[in-house]
Structure formats: C-alpha cells, structure tokens
Assembly symmetry: C2
Homo-oligomer: 157 residues x 2
DNA sequence: CACCTTATCAAGAACAATTCCTATTTAAGT
DNA sequence: ACTTAAATAGGAATTGTTCTTGATAAGGTG
C-alpha cells in the first residue's frame, strides 16, 4: 500500500492516507532526508533540520522519522551497534558500509534476482523483509591506502 | 586465518594463537554458546554461565564474547535495535528472525552462490564481511495463527 | 465563531545495551 | 619467590533511543 503510494502521491497524501498530518516538522525532516542521500543518523538529521525549524527537539525528530518509516516514506538502516540511519530510497537495495571512512552507499538488487536464490530458505517460512549489509573498503579509501604505502616504499629506498 | 584454525585446532589453540589465555570464564562462555545454538544475547549467556562460574560479572561476559569473536570462534549477530546475539556457527549463513516468537535460525548459503550474485556490487569495492537478515513468520507461528483463524470461522458460523 | 477533541510537540527524565574505569586477582615466565 | 602483564569483578559512565508530561495547535462540529 505504502509502496504504491509513493509512486502516485506526494508525501503529504501518503501521510494523510495514514490519518496523520503533514506538519512543518515532518516536512522539514523529510526534506532533509531527500536532500542528504548519505544515510544520516537521527542526530545528523536533527542538526540539519534545526536550520529550518530552529527549536525542534531531538525527540520530535525521532518521532517524525518513526512516522515517516511507518508510512513507508523512508527506510531505517541499522548496522552493528551503530546508531540507526535513515534512507529515502524505496527501491529494493542492500547497503555497503566502508570500514575506514564510515560512508554508507546503496547497492541495487540485480534484475530478476531474489535473496532466496543465494540462501536456503525453507519454503514453509514466510519472508516479509530482508536487510543486507556488506562491509569492506570503498574505492576512495583503497586509493588513499595505496598512496600511503607507495610513499612508504619510496622512503625505505 | 582464524577460519582455518577452527577446523584444525581446539578453541584453546585458537585463543593461544592470538597470544591470549583460555581462562575458566572464557571456556564457560564458549561452552554455553556451543550448547545453546539459539543465538543467545549477552545477558542470556550471562545467566547461563552463572551456573558454572557463579560470580562472573556481566562485563566479563561481554569481554569474553569480544575476545571469542576477535579470535574468530563465534560470530556476533545484530538485528534492528535489539541486543546483539552470539553464534558459534562459523559456516557462511544468513539469519531468519521470526517476528511473532522472536526465534532466530540459521539459513545456509547455497552451494557456489555469493551475495554478489544478487546485488550489484561495484568491482572496485572490496567486501570483507556481509550480514544478511530475513524477517517473517516461522512455520510454528504460522500454524498457530491458522488454528486461531479456524476457530474464529467455526464460531462465526 | 466558540468549543471540543485529538494530534503534535518540546523538554527533560528514564531506559537498555554496552563500554569504560579501577582496584584486585591470577597466571606465566624468569 | 618475584616480576610483569593479562584478566576479572564491580560499578560508574556513555550512547542511542523511548517515554512521560504539560503545553500548543489544528480540524471538525454545532
């Protein structure tokens, strides 16, 4: 239901469809997420949103993020013990977390593939969601490290 | 390296290989994990372990779990905002979390399959780990629900 | 428009899971 | 036995998040 809504309606309509109001705070939080596509944490959203709504509280940001996820407008992304992050990309995708710089990026699902193709899911189990996280090193960080080790090699000569 | 170790050595040797000692506390924690294959939380391990080592502290259990994971003897499993769980199954596998009863079970990787087959991972990214979680309803809970709705149907006749 | 009802919000307290700190105990290596 | 480093118990501290409360605002109704 919510998934359909996003293709057809504005976020306002989606929220109204859930019997809720699109308040200034909710809009500001949503707009920050749509602007920042780097999976910000609640606190990061909070500081950004303060630019628009100067005296919004952190609790309200959490509330807004919760209602937005409940309405299906954003997805919540968790990783190990770190703080939750929020993501307005509603297409099916996995996440990649760079261990050195901490950046998070989206990895799209390949066409006509399903996670069940890779893991043995007993068929009497009903899957409603899946969350897939990869960890490793992003190209930027790999490059940095290479430069460093080159420098070391030059020095040791 | 740690992965190899588990096939060749006892946990003691693996720990020694990391320059650490196999203490009573560590062994007790490890034994609980090997016994309880249902992905216990730190607190659950703590209460079980107290049977063997009556005055072990929760902090020590956390420490032991950390060293065991560092040595590659157990894996840490996180799910949404819930507490971390620990798993001595070192084979590659995903996890299934039942939304109704909370049970966690292992889903093995299919032979000759890799997660990269399903998600588009740019090749200049190096993957070191992945964590895959499915959510849904386990067969037991599905059966229970069916019985309930049958009962309802009978009543309404 | 006045009134009622409910949703929403800010602020701070409370909470759960985990980590940190410190003094004490234990074990290994001389 | 002596020295040194590792490991532990216990409690305090931290982090991220949720809960509570009273105030505010916004729709809907007569």
């Amino acid at each position: 239901m919510a998934t359909l809504a996003q293709h057809q309606h504005s976020p306002d309509d989606t929220i109204h469809g859930h019997g809720l109001r699109m308040t200034g705070q909710r809009r500001a939080v949503y707009d920050v997420l749509m602007g920042e596509r780097n999976h910000p944490t609640a606190v990061e959203v909070f500081t950004k949103v303060r630019g628009q709504v100067p005296n919004i509280s952190l609790a309200t940001v959490y509330n807004c993020l919760e209602t937005l996820t409940d309405c299906g407008l954003v997805k919540i992304v968790t990783h190990e013990r770190g703080p939750s992050r929020y993501c307005p990309n509603l297409e099916e995708h996995a996440h990649f977390f760079c261990d050195s710089c901490g950046e998070v990026s989206d990895l799209p699902l390949r066409a006509r593939k399903r996670p069940q193709d890779v893991w043995e899911v007993p068929e009497n189990i009903t899957i409603s969601h899946h969350q897939v996280a990869f960890r490793g090193e992003c190209p930027k960080c790999a490059k940095k490290k290479n430069l460093k080790s080159e420098a070391r090699n030059l020095k040791s000569k």
